[in-house]
Amino acid sequence: MKKLDREKPSTPISRRSFIKLAATAGAAAALPGCEPAARKLIPYVVPDENVVPGVPSFFATTCAECPAGCGVVARIREGRVVKLEGNPADPIGQGALCARGQAALQGLYNPDRLAHPQLRGSDGALRTVSWDEAGKMLGDRLTAASKAGKDRVAFFGSPQGPTFQKIALAFIGAQNSSRAIFYEAINQEPARGAAKTLFGRRDLPTYRIDQAEMLISFGADFLETWQSPVELARQYSLFRTPQNRRGALSIGRATYVGPRLSMTASKCDDWIATAPGAQADVAWSVLNVLVKNGKVSPNSGFDLAALTKAVANFDPAATSARTGVPAETITALGEAFGKADGALAIAGTDDSSAHLAAMILNSVTGNFGKTIMFFEGSPAEDTSTPDEVDAAVDAMRGGEIDVVFIAGANPVFTMPAAARIAEALQKVPFVVWAGGVPDETAAMASLLLPAHHPLESWRDTAPRAGVRGLGQPVMQPVFDSRPVGDILLAAAAKSSSAKLPWTTTAEAVKAEWLALASKAESPDSEDFWTKVRREGGLFEEQHLAALTLDTSPFKAAVPTAAQMQLSVYAYPHIFLYDGRGADKPWLQELPEPVTQLVWDSWAEIHPETARGLGVGKDDLIEIKTEHGVIEAPVLVASTVRPGVIAVPIGQGHRAYGRYAKDVGGNAWAILAAGATYAEATARATGTKRALVTPLGNADMMGRSIVEAMSIEQLAAGVLPESHEEEVTGPYEMYAPWKYPGHKWGMTIDVNACTGCSACVTACYAENNVPTVGKDGVDRGRIMSWIRIERYFPNATEAAEAPQLYLAPMLCQQCDHAPCEPVCPVFASYHTEEGLNGQIYNRCVGTRYCENNCPYKVRRFNWFVPEWPAPLNLQLNPDVTVRGAGVMEKCTFCVQRIQFAELNAKTEDRELRDGEIVTACQQACPTRAITFGDSNDPASAMMRRRDDNKLRNYRALEELNTKPAITYLRDLYREKGKA
């Protein structure tokens, strides 16, 4: 610890240095991290040698918010983690981190986390018990259970990485049982199933969208929640970047087939609206077209006859008749797919038939190894199969289980009603729950144990072949909690005589990794250990696996989806995922990109259907399937196919802390096991619940806020014509100001922006932006400094415009800022470096600046902002917390600029381009945002402008505000062009 202490960071920015740093810090935290100590604030009278006040340190770790397993770097100030950012060394996140990943902080500091072990008395009331008491009781119960017979103890939890799984298995083994269930509500079982049928392997392929020229997504929201959104978004942005393909400047062509215009769909060229479940039909039909057109590559190893037979009843016409998708659309799709030099089809539905079709599409067009690949030594499957899960649940229901230990999963919430898990758990005499914020499952547990947040514990991930992420504690525990692994090991040790390989998680993880060391043939294991902690994992070369095709599936014809009058389609909320995001105010207040709704769940219904049902906006309707019933307010929108009610998954908690409890309805409750849709009936309840959105008007009215041009125009080098009357001759009222030093500016590529809102969350975290709650948003007091503008193209543009206009809107730092001169007290003024400064403690709150801001990006503190403890521990010490009556706004993260300039000064050198990275820029998965010095033509930011001259535009330029932000126009493909 002391040894490593010397490698103190100089600057957090350059990748190499902070990874180095991550290691030191990691090591530093190693010890305090794993002992179950109560929260300690560091007293500076006895300084901790790892903590220099005012200087941040960085820890590399991994994200546990979804199975994608992105690498994370945690920024620590004075012993508290204040921000999470992507780990550049990690091939998955590549330095970016989605909104959910960043919001993990609010899980860590959640005020509703379980503070002490609690035991449920016979009266059902909970009482706090000591760890010893809890441990003893658990031990006794386990001993009893394992004595009672085989398989009477079960572990039920999310797969928390290979090492943890080993621990869990060891624990279960020690209990004379084999029931270890690793459960993910949102899993890839159908995909695995397809892989199994076709290639006899259950692992997931790796995709390379950026290697493709054409992409068809059969309902896979790969920019939101499907598999690895950050990684895929990055690939997609490259795929959509204009480049020369066969002599012509073009962008990748993407088509989305599914019931709802998701954010992902909105970034595709075309959205083919199908009923849920009909995607497979279309997929097979596309394959049919390929087969007909003889596009099946001879060396793909398929038996053409079988194939032809398999797709026989998927002639476009037939499919069209079933799905309502025009035959010519399907044909065109098939032809394009066949022609494309590099194509990729992916499926995100719950029926493996679609996955199979997609995989065959990729296979017959010879795209395996190019746009989609299986690698050697892919990690063993991590989740249990549905059958295993069902078996376990049945066992519980059958009273065959005495003790079930639940950790990291919330089956009562996420398991479809069909599984009747609640009923099953009631049959289990002793349910142990270990976790953070007590959820629906905890409500049924007899013993509640506060578990470490992933950011407090040692862990590892194996998202895919060649990628092992190493998670290390980034700070001392906030509450009196313990790592789940330690609890299991301790319990096992108490309850059985079985010899356990390790006693703590920390030990286990280290042991596992040192074992890897030998594979990684690094002689000195300690060096290796330091290296992997520094880089946040082990990232190795990957080797293509040899695939053996099994063509048996084509013996039988493929079934087609049933027709439904009215169906409900449940999709994971981009921010709440399977529901685990709901306890984080940042995520609750983040407008869902397409609907722009917050703090609620809703029923998205097409105007026609709504008319049919006789319901309108905000009408609370009851949606009923054979599995269950939920209520949701209606959102009438043409972003969903007629006959479909789209409902987001993730809300509707009845526990899970103050932010999640009683918000919206739980979509899981109306689904069959493993299904994403069901036939439904809907009726108006007669009551209303206003859906809340910060959005005023959805029509941009042709104003130059978000601009787009077609790739054809770009190729031809012509600008979209403007309707503005031209002013001829001189018109500048004032002489331009000089900016001798730096002049900060930003370039934002609207084409790259997907709307994922990672930038927004990053801004909340970095700048201590408060959340205001549902009512606050409703009263127009949302505080976000940066927002995602969402506009629907109006009728006249619709034919030629992108599906949606999406672009980040933040303070434009105008040179002729209308907000500045109207401030009577110079609280708003222009700095020598071209920033639109806002001096909080000078502001008297006249609010004239906001009145005069054309972009409406200033935010007023209507009340004193509040962060219920310990959420306040997350506050960034570098940024003032604003009080009531003060105007605030984006400052291009002036604190980061200062920090970098200071470093440059102390190191007596010029500031390097790219040394300053704003929070929003850092978070962006698609690198849509570039920040830099506009006085330096060589800066990446300026080069990006110059390289895309034709796409440059400034928001509301006609107002002559001279923004420091230049946008690059969104690109779309003129309809009907291949």
Partner: protein
């Protein structure tokens, strides 16, 4: 020749003094009840303000993007009310208009209290009112000064100048009259007036300097009136916001101010002359002339509405056109049309001389105008903010109880102060009325003017 409206030329100087001084005799219970009522409301308003300061502006209905609404509307409304006072007392004085003499004291008093009321609102609407003095330049160790480029600073200067100057003007006018009151009064009142009269005796030396200074103050007050409401209008016109940014605002707001102000004078005087029994001093003739001023300014205001609308249409600028479209046909359209009715159509009745001298009709019309002019400011201020450059940020505003109670309190504050004054100081200038009478008698070819 046309018959002019009735003028009372009977009163002698003594009658004038009598009828004016009679008003100042000790008041009855009803009066004190009224005063009590007013200041209770003021108290309630103050309480709500206190809570707003404590809790934050969130207790108002203000929001993104409607950052200004009722408070600023009240501010502009009251500043506007103030203007007629100075117009009548200063500008008409320069024009040597005779009918002003009987009404100017009341009008000027209204000015003082209207400005005093208006002045509250910029404070009330501040996010951090305890730092209001940062808007004024004062030496401080941080060398921080206001930005003189900000319209709000011009406002601070203009309004405080206006308050000071008109207060001085008003005080000067009062001195000789108070001296009169001193002679008439007895007991503590006599002492009271003796102090206020500052030993005025109407000697030639006093009159000589007095008249000159009075003339000059009038000369200063005249451009001041133009400037003050122009500056107020520039609080909006300086912005780029469609619906605010318009060159016509300055003269248009000045006209509107005088329009609403004179209407308010009428609203106050018609009942007052009855209650205070000064009908023989405030005659049809006076109201006829006030009505003419209302009519003129109403026409100017109408001209401005039309020009603005035309120019928006002519400009072909879709953003500006959208703002005006929403102003006419948006959810707040009814407010706009109500405003047109009150400010443009109803005043046209005043073309009829008969209505001009029908005090009941005139009074009702003046009420409509007060409402209409308040609505005008609201439509311009809040209405334009609702619909801005950034459609995604449009949002509507709903008033809250806090704003209502503070507004009510402010109206009570004004009425209370005005009522107090009307009983304790001469509500009509005896001196000038005497001068006026002298002139009238001459004008009407009465035999050699005898004061008695």
């Amino acid at each position: 020749m046309a018959a002019a409206p009735k003028i009372n030329t009977e009163p002698t100087f003594r009658d004038i003094d009598r009828s004016v001084l009679r008003v100042m005799e000790p008041a009855g219970l009803a009066y004190w009840a009224w005063i009590g009522f007013c200041f209770t409301l003021v108290g309630i308003g103050a309480a709500f303000w206190a809570h707003q300061i404590y809790a934050g502006l969130g207790v108002t209905g203000l929001r993104q993007p409607v950052m200004w609404a009722i408070y600023i509307t009240n501010f502009v409304f009251w500043v506007g009310i103030a203007h007629s006072g100075t117009l009548i007392s200063a500008i008409l004085f320069l024009f040597r208009t005779k009918w002003r003499t009987a009404v100017y004291r009341a009008a000027e008093t209204m000015t003082i209290f209207a400005v005093a009321t208006a002045g509250l609102f910029p404070l009330i609407h501040l996010g951090r009112v305890w730092f209001f003095y940062w808007l004024l330049p004062y030496p401080n160790e941080r060398y921080l000064q206001p930005d003189f480029r900000s319209p709000l600073v011009w406002d601070a200067f203009a309004v405080s100048t206006y308050l000071t100057t008109s207060a001085l003007f008003w005080t000067m006018g009062l001195i000789p009259d108070i001296a009169n009151a001193r002679e008439a009064a007895s007991g503590w009142r006599r002492k009271f007036y003796t102090v206020l009269a500052m030993g005025w005796q109407g000697t030639d030396r006093q009159w000589r300097h007095y008249s000159m200074a009075y003339l000059l103050l009038a000369g200063l007050a005249t451009p001041l009136v133009l400037s003050v409401h122009s500056v107020v209008s520039w609080d909006f016109a300086m912005a780029q916001l469609p619906g605010w940014h318009s060159t016509i605002f300055a003269p248009y707001f000045v006209a509107g101010a005088i329009f609403s102000g004179v209407a308010m004078v009428v609203t106050l005087l018609i009942p007052m002359r009855r209650m205070l029994g000064i009908q023989d001093l405030l005659t049809e003739w006076h109201f006829d002339n006030l009505a003419k001023v209302i009519l003129l300014t109403s026409l100017v205001v109408t001209y401005s509405y039309v020009t603005e609308s035309f120019m928006t249409w002519y400009s072909g600028d879709p953003i500006e056109q959208m703002t005006f479209h929403m102003r006419y046909f948006g959810p707040w359209g009814p407010l706009f049309w109500m405003m047109v009715l009150c400010n443009c159509l109803i005043p046209l009745l005043l073309f009829s001389p008969r209505i001009r001298v029908n005090l009941v009709a005139l009074w009702i019309i003046s009420i409509f105008i007060n409402i209409g002019m308040w609505l005008e400011r609201f439509v311009i201020i809040a209405g334009s903010l609702r619909v801005n450059f950034e459609p995604s940020q449009w949002g509507t505003y709903h008033v809250t109880i806090t704003e209502i109670m503070i507004t009510v309190g402010a109206f009570a504050w004004f009425l209370g102060l005005f009522s107090l004054f009307s009983r304790f100081l001469p509500i009509i200038s005896m001196t000038e009325l005497k001068e006026g009478i002298v002139w009238l008698r001459k004008a009407l070819k009465m035999d050699r003017v005898k004061a008695a």
